[in-house]
Every structure is written in C-alpha cells, then in structure tokens.
C-alpha cells in the first residue's frame, strides 16, 4: 500500500476519533440497537410463555379435595380478587356427590363455566381444560390398574405432535431482524465520518489545498474510504460483541430458539463484513463528495440508507429466494449469515464470490470518486 494512503488514513482516523459526534454515532447504534431489540424480545418471550398461576372461581372445593390439590399443582387456584372489567369469570363447580361418584366409578360431574370464544382468555381456559383431562386420565389409569389391565389399552394411537407453527416462524423473525441489524451496522456506523471527510472537507475549505498536494486522487480516496470503513467495522464489531452478551438475558430457549453464536461464528461474520464496510463507505463517499455541505450530504445519505434497509428487510420478511442473492453485495453477506445462524454449512464458494464482487464494486466506486475529484466542475462546483 502506498505510503500516501497510510498517511491520509492515519491523519483522518486521528481527526475522526477526536470528533465526538462521529464516535458517538458509531457507538450509539451498536449499543442501543441490541439493547432495544433485547427488551422487545424479552417482552415477546414472556408474553409467549406466560406460566403464572391461573386464578379462577371454584365452588364446592370441599367435595373434591384431591382434584383441587391436583389443580393447585398445575398452577390453577381459587380466585380471591374480583375479575377485572372486560374479563368473563372462569368458574368450576363441584357437586356434593363428587366423592361418591368417584368411589362408585361413575362419571363425576364438574361444571366448567367460561366464555369459550374469548380470545384473551383462551390460554387460561385451555390450561384448565388440559388439567381436568389430565386428572381424568390419571383416575382412569388407576382404575384400569386396579382391575388388572394395562393402562396402554386406553391409548390405541400415539400422536406425536410436532409444532411448526407460530413459535418456529416467530423464531425466524427474531433471528432475521438480528441479522438485518448486524448487516446495517456497517452502513450506520461509518456514516458520520464519511460525511465529515468528504462534504465536511469541502465545507471547511480544506479540499482545494488537499487536492493540490502531491498524491493522486485515487490514493486520497483510498485513505478516506479506509478511514470511514474502519469506523464502520468498529461499529459492526461492537454490535457483534454486544448482541450475544445482551441475548444471554433474553430467555430465548423458552420459546424453543437457540441462538448459538460461538465466537468463531462471530469472528467469521466480522471478516465477511469487511468488504461490505468498504462498499458501504465508498457508496456514502461517492454521494457526499458531491454535496456542498455537511447538511446537504446528510440529506442524501439518509435517502441512501433506505436502500440497504429496504433491501435487507424486504428479503428477510418476504422470504425471497434466488441464487443471485448469494453473490450480490449485501444480500450475499445476508444469505451467508442466515446459513451461519441456522447452523447450516456455509456455502464457501458463494461467500468468497460475494466478497470478491463486493470488493470489486467498492473499487469501482472508489475509482469513480477519484475521477470525480479530478474534475474541476465537481471540485469547484462550477
């Protein structure tokens, strides 16, 4: 690497690191993003796996002490406080002849009163139903055993339930948004630096002098791209480090998701993000070198940010599948990350190819910027 590139890189890094706004911008995304996401997930998980006690009205509990004890063990208890408004009472009523019916081997009657169409109470109602069925089955098994029969006689078929519905797709949604977040970190974290070293350079009137120095515009652009990309990678690595740490506090295993992010996986992700960071910052520099001021550049860049956001969220949630996605910048890294996080073997050829293609695109963008900086129309805004 030419020494002019290193000189520019070092100077710009020193300059940028002293800029609180740039450092904060890079760090805040990496810090607050995962925390916010974790909080959202935390609530989602606790909502999905609410196993607090169900409190219902029970009458005649003195007639069916054994059942009441069984229910209590299943977390269903006598309600002391009144029902909140908008909730229909759920009630069980045990008749006085309960014990007698059980002893005689006749069906003992229990009245289960609730609004069975109420969506909000569906979980509670089904838990009560389940508990009653379990108790009924238990009694039946005891009765069969007492008569010398194997309880399996009562189980002619064995249904193996495999739930592929809500929990599974929710898990994919959760992990998908984490991936998109990581991918976008390279676009967010270097943004402020990219604007400052391009449009900012012009705004503070130092661009002309810099361009009059004995270094080629390609070297200048390379040094500047490396600077912004360093910041982008700083933010990305920070996100990668913080995400697994934060997610240890989210009980994802309770909804059947295992986020197994070994450090090797994270390191591999960081490596795959390097070409993307170069691409993202080259793109941002390309746009903001055309702007006359920091503010103007910020406007353009925010529009520009929509592109990767829409692309990655669109692919993630519309579940688009196409071979080309494996090779393009951004989507290539996205697909590789999806494979990694699902624990599937990485498509090495596609990953390398997309890295090379991403680097090529960044190189072309950088050449484009260098060419732009040789044009007096762009430099002096003529």
């Amino acid at each position: 690497m030419s020494s002019a590139i290193v000189t520019v890189w070092r100077k710009e890094l020193r300059d940028a690191v002293r800029d609180r706004r740039s450092v904060l911008a890079a760090m805040s995304y990496a810090f607050f993003g995962p925390v916010l996401m974790a909080v959202a997930f935390f609530f989602l998980v606790s909502q999905m796996t609410d196993d607090s006690d169900v409190k219902i009205d029970m009458q005649g509990t003195e007639h069916a002490a054994a059942l009441v004890e069984f229910l209590a063990a299943a977390g269903i208890e006598q309600r002391e406080e009144p029902w909140p408004t908008g909730r229909q009472p759920i009630a069980l009523e045990f008749p006085a002849d309960w014990d007698a019916a059980i002893a005689a081997g006749e069906p003992a009657r229990v009245v289960f009163n609730a609004d069975f169409s109420n969506q909000q109470q569906r979980a509670e109602i089904s838990r009560v139903t389940q508990a009653l069925q379990n108790y009924s089955q238990q009694i039946a098994q005891v009765r069969l055993l007492a008569r010398g029969l194997h309880p399996q006689l009562m189980q002619p078929i064995d249904v193996v339930r495999q739930d592929s519905a809500t929990k599974g797709s929710r898990a994919a949604l959760l992990l998908g948004s984490v991936l998109v977040f990581i991918l976008l970190s390279v676009f967010w974290s270097g943004m402020n630096v990219a604007i400052d070293i391009s449009a900012g350079e012009r705004e503070r009137n130092s661009l002309e002098f810099l361009l009059s120095q004995p270094l080629s515009s390609a070297e200048l652009v390379a040094g500047k791209t490396l600077t912004a990309a360093s910041f982008a990678m700083f933010g990305a690595v920070l996100s990668l480090v913080i995400i697994p740490f934060v997610f240890t506090y989210v009980p994802l295993e309770r909804i059947g998701i295992s986020v197994d992010l070994a450090w090797q996986t994270l390191a591999l992700m960081a490596v795959m993000l390097v070409p993307l960071a170069l691409f993202a910052t080259a793109l941002q520099l390309f746009v903001s070198f055309r702007a006359k001021s920091f503010k103007e550049a910020q406007t353009y860049i925010s529009f520009l940010l929509m592109v990767p956001m829409l692309a990655s969220f669109g692919i993630e949630f519309a579940r688009i599948k196409h071979q080309a996605l494996y090779y393009l910048p951004l989507t290539g890294q996205h697909q590789a990350f999806l494979d990694l996080i699902k624990g599937e073997p990485l498509n090495v050829f596609a990953a390398v190819a997309s890295a090379v293609i991403t680097l090529l695109c960044s190189g072309l963008l950088m050449l484009g910027i260098a060419r732009m900086l040789r044009s007096e129309k762009v430099v002096f805004g003529l």
């Binding site: 002293r18 130092s206 661009l207 002098f209 009059s212 120095q213």
Partner: protein, 244 residues
C-alpha cells in the same frame, strides 16, 4: 522558474484567461496584480494542475502540471485561495501531515516541522488544536504547511487577506528571506501597497490578459506616473476592483 505561455480558459461565455503569458524567475518575487475577477486564481490553479486550461501551457521548471500533476506539485508550496484548517488537529499535526504527503518521513519530517514552527514563531501554538485560532494564527499554520518541505517555488493566492499589521510583517519578512535563498515566489494580489512593498516584478492582469509587466519603477516610468497606484489605474483603464 514558473513560466506561463498563452493560457486560455473559458467558463461558458466568460473568458477567464485570454492568452496569458508571463515568467516568474527564481530568486525573485513576482506579483500578479489585477482587479477581482481578472483571472488570477484561475491562473494559479492551472499552474498546479487543479484546473485545465483550454490551450496554452504552464511550466514549473520543466514540468507541465497538466501532464504530470504530482511531479509539478512536489516542486511547489501552495498558499491557497481558501485555507481551512483541521480544527481537531494541533498545528503541529497538520503541518506534519502535509510534510508527510510531500514524502518526508520520521526524524526528517519532525525536524522539518520543528524548524518551520520555530521560523514562524508559533512554538506556543504548536500543540494547540486549531479550533480557536485567530485569522493571523491560521495564516501562520497555512504558511507553515506551504513551506514545510522547503519548496523551490512558492505560490500564494492573496496571502494578506484579513491579516493584521503584525501578521503581514511576518509574511513579508518570510517572503524576503525565501527570496534570498533563491526561491521563486509568485503571488496574486489586488492590494497595491503590498505589491509595491514586496515585488521585484509586477505582472498586471486584466480580463485574462497581461496588461503590463515590469518592476514597480518601470511601470511608473512607462505610464509617466509617480505612484504605482496611478500607473495601475492608467494601465487597466479603470480603478474598479482595486484596493489602495
């Protein structure tokens, strides 16, 4: 030696340079004097290859900036039209950055930076970030950036803009000192007194052409006036855009 031959340059309908030709010899201070909009800045930018002339040639010694801009820029120090400083860097760091771009490394670079800082009497500024610098202090940093690599040619675009008396004196002393060392100095100005006080040769530019050329005394003699200001007005035919 800087020589400009028959430069032309148009922006749309406006002819900024219209066959401009002059020489700035080594060991002399050449002033490019002209009203605002006469094409001075465009001419200087063409010399160091930041703008391209439509026709004609600008040479630094024997190097044409149009053909080999990097080689041309290695031979010169530039004090540009606009000099923005990097406000988060100290004066010393900025000067060192430009010294490095000119190929100075390690101890050699540090020595050059220290020397120029001492020469411009800005030792107490050296380790301060330039955010709060006064106009005069900024000028010193820009000047230090321009001469840290000890160029054989120095090009200054309106160097005394907004300077107080003390800063102007420092600038003039420095330019005289560099001249004594054989540096070729070319600067543009629209300030008469500055040109009269400093220049060995004056090139009067108006509407992209050389209107007259010579030492201040020669110009006065040429027009039959005793003061350069009067001579100047006579040469370009108007006193518009000139500061006394």
């Amino acid at each position: 030696m800087i020589s400009v031959q028959n430069l032309t340059k148009s922006f749309g309908d406006v002819r900024a340079l219209d066959g401009l030709t002059f020489h700035a010899p080594d060991g002399q201070i050449t002033g490019l004097l002209g009203p605002n909009g006469a094409g001075k800045t465009t001419c200087l930018r063409t010399i160091y290859g930041l703008q391209k002339a439509d026709s004609g040639q600008a040479l630094i010694d024997t190097v044409d900036a149009l053909l080999d801009p990097l080689a041309a820029r290695r031979l010169i120090g530039i004090f540009p039209d606009k000099f923005g400083l990097y406000e988060r860097l100290t004066a010393q760091e900025q000067i060192a950055f430009f010294a490095e771009l000119h190929g100075l490394k390690g101890a050699e670079r540090n020595q050059a930076v220290t020397a120029v800082i001492e020469r411009l009497g800005m030792t107490e500024l050296a380790h301060r970030r330039s955010a709060g610098f006064s106009q005069g202090q900024r000028m010193k940093v820009a000047l230090a950036q321009a001469i840290v690599h000890q160029p054989k040619h120095l090009i200054l675009d309106e160097p005394s803009r907004g300077l107080d008396v003390m800063s102007t004196r420092i600038l003039r002393d420095l330019l005289r000192e560099l001249r004594a060392q054989g540096t070729c100095i070319l600067f543009s100005s629209h300030v008469m007194q500055e040109v009269a006080a400093l220049c060995d040769r004056v090139v009067v530019v108006a509407q992209g052409k050389v209107a007259a050329e010579g030492s201040p005394d020669e110009l006065c003699a040429m027009t039959g006036e005793s003061a350069l200001e009067e001579a100047f007005v006579k040469i370009i035919g108007t006193d518009e855009g000139i500061a006394a």
